[in-house]
Symmetry: C2
Subunit: 304 residues, 2 copies
Amino acid sequence: MARQKTLGVVGLGAMGYGAALSALRSGLTTWGYDKRPEVCAALQQAGGQIATDLNELAQHCDAVLLLVVNAAQVEEVLFGEHGLAAQLRPGSVVLCAATVDPSLPAQWAARLAEQQIHLLDAPVSGGPVKAAAGTMTVMASGSAEAFAAAEQVLPAYAGKVYRLGDEPGIASTVKMVNQHLAGVHIAAACEAMALGIRAGANPDTLYEVITQSAGNSWMFENRVPHILAGNYTPLSSVNIFVKDLGIVLDAARKLAFPLPLAAAAHQLYLGTAAAGHGQEDDSAVIKLYAALSGIALPASKEAV
Amino acid sequence: MARQKTLGVVGLGAMGYGAALSALRSGLTTWGYDKRPEVCAALQQAGGQIATDLNELAQHCDAVLLLVVNAAQVEEVLFGEHGLAAQLRPGSVVLCAATVDPSLPAQWAARLAEQQIHLLDAPVSGGPVKAAAGTMTVMASGSAEAFAAAEQVLPAYAGKVYRLGDEPGIASTVKMVNQHLAGVHIAAACEAMALGIRAGANPDTLYEVITQSAGNSWMFENRVPHILAGNYTPLSSVNIFVKDLGIVLDAARKLAFPLPLAAAAHQLYLGTAAAGHGQEDDSAVIKLYAALSGIALPASKEAV
């Protein structure tokens, strides 16, 4: 049997923190790195090791899961000053889980290969709840060597792994298509609920009927309860879709491919952020319609 | 026990024909009326009675289900020359199942009330498959008298009835919200699948992963298999959503309510119809993206 891997997790936001906890529960020695001391302290209390810098992380780990926010952060972590590319041992594997332009993972894989480091293009789906439960869906593509090096750590945080091909970038393409749909569906849920409220329908009734009808979507079912409860505490924020639909639109522009629906949805997230709701739950897109039309949204159930 | 009602079905398209067959199977005496002789002959062969005109239908029936295409046809059938309003017996009920502007059913109900005829605002969801199985979802609103008069016939063609309120129009509002989402989701499914194909993903793999991820929708799951099979035989056509999103946009305009996503989706259906695909399955919206970008869509599995 292969020697047990030691996992490093870079980026301890809701997704990374959940993945690190799941890995600990599964029995993997797990190191975390994040610039925010409070999330490091929390992981330490849960039994994790904390690296004070990437150098320390690289000394201890032979598989590193990147759950940072965007491509710029991936490049900083891998190729910046004191980046992992120069410090990880040959044979190590980097699992890149950030949502990024699908043309980038192949470039990163080529640069890491010069140091005999493998890259698995491995974006995730499922949100903070599944991350905490260790049941995220991982979309993965990369070389046979990258899969072999990641074999032991993937089940530690993933409920389901799709092996999508040998080329880094395929998995990010599938993730991009998923984010396109997820982003359009949340905005559509907000537009449709706002229309129904404006036309006099009861919002709870709308939810009950639509979730049993052909208009349903995973996002409608998941996000509209936030609207009905008047609770915009961010599980995933408006700004995440400002970013993710931005990635989708930029990647499509490089391909000279038109996306009128995704572009319209992106404007709605931007408008919601411009109105001051960028940090709220992404279902706050309905507040843009409320601001435009004066409809009354369901009040917070916690308000007295 | 109440005397058994006799049901009339006006409009024997896929939905109306399915509803009439289901009613026959449930044991109701069922009359059909349609201007197309071939659908009348089919219903007759299945045991139904055929009315040669609305007058004959009105003589025999005390509950009439309208499954015509639009509001203009509803008005013709109810209030045109030899229309049902002047011919149905007092106490009869009209179940209006067409997708219409939600402001209309209340006006129709008021006019029918002058003849002591009840109107149930009763749009349906579920498509031809559920219509044939007698398991359509009916969204219904109207007076207690209208519900009482319809009580016996609704279970003959509906699998589920939502009783949404006392005012005709509430059900059509809920249906409008459902059609908004259904229309946007089909167009989004086509846009996202086309993007994925352009970016090099395998379309079958995209379907497998997305249907298990947060990007899924009822429509994605239902329509994308038509694209994968290269089969655009219309179950529900592009032109239906040219019409239904048109109704949604017109109704919202009356309310001075903006719908940027529905408007963008409507343009995609119009573009697809303009390109000559209006009579094809609504998943043919992907052909618009193919025409713009030159991507190859999956070929028909039946082609040799």
